[in-house]
């Protein structure tokens, strides 16, 4: 199943190549790949960020259930941790925005 997934992913990359070959464009190679990279990159970053934040919140809730007296300090640490994990996805968002709005426009 994994091999077919990889082959399918590589086959998707053939589509813009075919489209560009059809219209004979030589300067327009970057724009479709930039758009695809922005989308896929953001999706991977968001998914992994979700996993990381899920682990952080799970540990925090476990600790709060174990020691309800320390709940306020644990909650503060959890909020800080969540914001720091989220900032990694935000860096990817900034790169995706740069790719979309600088390279994703077809200078035709």
């Amino acid at each position: 199943m994994r091999r077919s997934l990889i082959l399918g992913g590589l086959a998707v990359l053939a589509f813009p190549t075919a489209a560009l070959a059809a219209e004979g464009g030589t300067g327009g190679w970057i724009a479709p790949f930039a758009v695809i990279a922005a989308g896929i990159g953001m999706a991977i970053a968001a998914g992994l960020c979700g996993l990381g934040q899920g682990r952080a919140v799970a540990s925090a809730v476990d600790a709060m259930a174990r020691q309800p007296g320390a709940a306020a300090r644990i909650q503060t640490a959890m909020i800080i941790g969540l914001a720091l994990i989220e900032s990694l996805a935000i860096y990817t968002l900034v790169i995706a925005l740069i790719l979309l709005f600088v390279k994703g426009i077809n200078f035709a």
Partner: protein, 259 residues
């Protein structure tokens, strides 16, 4: 992106939007505090009471993270915190431009933090001992490598502060701009008004769902992100300052149980 977003209601000629609204934030903050400090009373009421509560929160955060000797850095921290909070909230109001959704403002705040915590560390310990602490508690052979790694991680700090604040604010704005694009006369509202039954159903229901989603979920989320990002910026500033000044405590004083 500028085609989707609308210009703000108030523009000075020749001056970029984010600078104009920075001045507006400055006028608001300075005016508020000036009015509140007119007749200071021992038992505060009204605006003075509110501002004292805000400052108490800052003092509590400083006590938690930096210890009581960090209170001398309250002006820097409270100024940064209030400025970023007000700028974030100003970007949410439709019609006003966002100050922190421009990279320059965030870079300026991050540079202030970077220079401040290095200056505080050097002033407290002297230049050579401060630089020696960059090498860390590793054997002598690894100290040059550790020094290089520390320099890179210190350089990454203002970059991450800038991009975190910028990305959070701009992400929310782009989301809102896309929703406005969906709802416009080319999208759902246009379908609803187009006169056909299918268009009216899809446009009407879609428009209603989008309005409820935006007002009920997106705007509260953006307000939460505004407060949270200001809090995170201030918290990281305090952590960096406490990291710069605490090195001396390992050498000179006893390590008390508190911090």
């Amino acid at each position: 992106m500028e085609a989707i977003e609308h210009p703000p209601i108030f523009r000075l000629p020749g001056i970029p939007d984010h600078v104009t609204y920075t001045w507006l934030v400055m006028i608001i903050l300075a005016g508020l505090t000036f009015v509140a400090s007119r007749h200071l009373q021992l038992v505060p009421r009204g605006l003075q009471n509110f501002l004292e509560v805000v400052l108490e929160q800052f003092l509590q955060m400083i006590d938690d993270v930096m210890g009581p000797e960090g209170r001398r850095y309250l002006p820097l921290i409270a100024t940064l915190g209030l400025f970023i909070l007000t700028s974030n909230l100003m970007g949410l109001v439709p019609g006003l431009a966002g100050v922190t959704s421009n990279l320059n403002t965030n870079a300026a705040c991050a540079l202030v933090v970077f220079i401040a915590y290095h200056w505080i560390g050097v002033r407290k310990q002297g230049l050579i001992p401060y630089l020696k602490h960059f090498a860390g508690p590793v054997p002598l052979a690894l100290k040059p490598l550790m020094f290089v790694i520390e320099i890179i991680s210190h350089l990454a700090r203002p970059l991450s502060l800038t991009l975190r604040l910028f990305g959070n604010m701009v992400g929310g704005h782009i989301l809102l701009a896309v929703i406005f694009l969906l709802m416009g006369l080319d999208g759902l509202i246009g379908w609803a008004l187009s006169g056909s039954v299918a268009g009216a159903i899809i446009g009407g229901i879609g428009g209603l769902v989008t309005i409820v989603f935006t007002v009920g979920f997106l705007y509260p989320l953006k307000i939460l992100v505004a407060f949270l990002q200001a809090f995170i910026f201030v918290m990281l500033t305090m952590l960096y300052i406490s990291g710069a000044i605490e090195e001396s405590e390992h050498h000179s004083e006893q390590h008390s149980g508190h911090h």
